[in-house]
Symmetry: C2
Subunit: 430 residues, 2 copies
């Protein structure tokens, strides 16, 4: 797989923080910065995380500057004793730190507004390597810094590199990147035109997706299409990217081929989640939904209600594990449960139809299955699940076999239920 | 901050995946593996992420092997054309790939159980570098691999290094690491005695936790206690670790001090989730629960049903967004809704009591609040939430203010509800 990115800008990200190396915090900077930079058409070629230790920080920065056009560091700019990045980088580059009056004034203002007395340690943040560009911090006290390393003593070809230092807290880093660093990158580097589109699919495994589209896309790959797959639980993204003047044409042609081959499995070409697509379609159509969940235990309702505006479409969700609750809350008949069992096509059907009728909704989804680890039988092993959709005109029931551990079982089943609604109820393909 | 870790094992983690460098997926492996390794007393000195590109993978592995005792790679072992890690590492180390019959049989079985025909590409996963240790994959088709690189051509001192390759999907990687890699590390490397215990707390912010225990723990820190905090949404872990012969004694003494200072906020000292603690206690006491959720939209039921055995304690969950559903499914009185509103102490109380009575459970939890972004008023701004618990003897209602974006709001509120049950219903501290 070759990245067709306009590799004029070759970027490395260095995340510093001992807490990262102990696994105490999740590194969200990597994903956030990479996606922001990808949208600019820049390729992050390497991301490195290291502890707040002097030699490791200097080694990582030295290595980054030996390879990359732009090195971005995060963290280590604050006032406490483990905030050492600024000093170490100045030392590495042989720069003196000078006191910046405007930063000192910003910091004093930050504390005055909050009616707090600044601790003495805070002033270290007003020290900047001579000649650096300063990014004022609207949401904290540590400013960001940028400088062109020119000539670059670490690069074999002596080509200059840029070095950008950002503060660690996400609420400080993100607006600083968007408002100050992104414009600097666009001004400093000449970026080629770049187009990137992800087609989100569900219902087909990664190898099957590849089997159906890899061959027909080969001529476009020869023309510069970059084709990538990203498999998550219950979803496979097909990523189509190209750069240069023909980029839009190539990506459009590729999407047409993928749509032709696996169109019914695509639920979004605009990076929407499946639950967002469903809430959006129901809202547009002024239709409503109720949900009856046995083995997914509330996850389908949880996913739907993660979408802002869900309250207008989700009338009720019922988690009915017991037979008693299935009868009382959904009107499943005792004879059905006795004759076919709680995990059966018939029970799923009555759950969906009961939820739809009692909650007076346009659609109702129902799931019943055996999550395991116990409860399986030879005819209905652990992983057996029935997913039902009641619509104004008919009821659909799918039988699936999801032999996964508990959380994956629940997510996969919730995905199948939401997708049944997308395909059979809303007749939608993205 | 200095790490007191026994740095006998010096570890680098290499995460491969073009999707990581494009910011399309969050790298959760870094935190998870780092925290698992920290619990073993091993220090991860560097974590690197790179795209699925031949030269970058080989460079990163070569550099890792030049520095570390153990290099762990994640990703790139699957069947598609961008899964190239296995081949590239074999090439780098000059190893031939050989066909492993037992892996091929496992893969065939994996598809047979699921009644699917394996695509031809799948068999590449049965190819392993000669002499490698194979970790069968209980949750997927790509096995993990391990080998000792000895002699190590990339290390100046020629010392051997270990190389472990793990599959990318978390549900495959995690059990494989815990059951197969962790024992290998403990067997292969001589680790100093290391004791690590996390006390999981909820209900107190990180700085308040620190304020109450930092000072009393100082004498033990002087004796070698490593004290760390990890704040997540709605939870703060206090991590107590020590190494050497006195480790257990030091950690026990530290736990006693923390229990004394903030015991009522601790729900586990054994790494249990709050929902697991609750399902375990209810099961032991043969008691039952029902849940009525408005603003959390099914998340509380989802969390409870993530715990195996939940079906014995959770009788019913009801997601009642609308006033109509609150009346019909929970028996909330129309006058209550009219006089006090859906988001009120009185409605929360009637939701909990109605759920408890109708579902005949020992306890019922109810939540009603304003998730936002719209729906707030001057008296009840976005973030206002009422959490109620009905017990056999009385009903408790807490008013909280969770002014966060949607998903954090839902999680924080679910945490407060579960914790109300722990404290007031089950009178339990971990």
């Amino acid at each position: 797989l070759d990245l067709c990115f306009p590799r004029i800008v070759n970027i490395e990200i260095i995340n510093t923080g001992t807490e990262l190396m102990l696994g105490r915090v999740l590194n969200t900077h990597q994903q956030w910065l990479c996606s922001q930079l990808a949208d600019l058409g820049c390729a992050v070629t390497r991301q490195v995380a290291i502890a707040d230790k002097a030699d490791e920080i200097q080694n990582a920065v030295r290595e980054g500057l030996s390879r990359a056009d732009l090195v971005i560091t995060t963290g280590g700019l604050g006032p406490t004793s483990d905030d050492i990045t600024r000093d170490l980088i100045a030392q590495l580059l042989g720069k003196t730190l000078v006191h910046d009056e405007s930063i000192a004034a910003d910091i004093a203002k930050f504390f005055a507004i909050r009616k707090r007395v600044p601790p003495a340690s805070v002033n270290v943040q007003a020290m900047v390597p001579e000649g650096a560009i300063v990014f004022p911090n609207a949401n904290g006290t540590a400013p960001g810094l940028a400088m062109e390393v020119s000539p670059n003593p670490f690069r074999n070809d002596g080509k200059p590199s840029w070095l950008v230092m950002l503060p660690g807290p996400p609420r400080e880093l993100r607006p600083m990147f968007s408002k100050q660093v992104s414009p600097l990158i666009q001004k400093t580097f000449t970026l080629k035109k770049f187009v990137c589109r992800s087609l989100k699919t569900t219902g087909l495994g990664e190898s099957y997706v590849e089997q159906r589209i890899d061959e027909p896309l080969k001529p476009l790959v020869a023309q510069g299409l970059e084709l990538g797959y990203c498999a998550r639980v219950g979803e496979v993204d097909v990523r189509l990217a190209a750069c240069g003047e023909e980029a839009t044409k190539i990506v459009d042609a590729a999407e047409a081929i993928v749509q032709q081959a696996i169109g019914q499995y695509i639920f979004s070409n605009a990076d929407e989640s499946l639950e967002s697509v469903i809430v959006r379609l129901l809202t547009e159509r002024k239709q409503t939904l109720s949900i009856a969940e046995s083995c997914t235990g509330g996850l389908i309702a949880h996913r739907i209600t993660n979408v802002s505006g869900a309250s207008a479409v989700l009338m009720a969700g019922l988690v009915t594990y017991s037979n008693e609750a299935k009868q009382r809350l959904l009107g499943v008949r005792e004879e059905t449960l006795k004759e076919f069992g709680a995990v059966s096509e018939q029970t799923a059907r009555e759950m969906a139809e009961g939820a739809r009728e009692r909650n007076k909704t346009d659609y109702a989804l129902a799931v019943t299955g055996i999550a395991g680890p116990t409860g399986g039988t030879p005819e209905k092993p652990v992983g057996t699940v029935f997913v039902a959709l009641a619509t104004p005109t008919q009821t659909f029931v799918d039988k699936n076999f999801n032999a996964y551990e508990r959380e994956t079982f629940k997510f996969t089943t919730s995905q199948q239920a939401l997708d049944l609604l997308r395909r059979r109820g809303l007749s939608f393909a993205g």
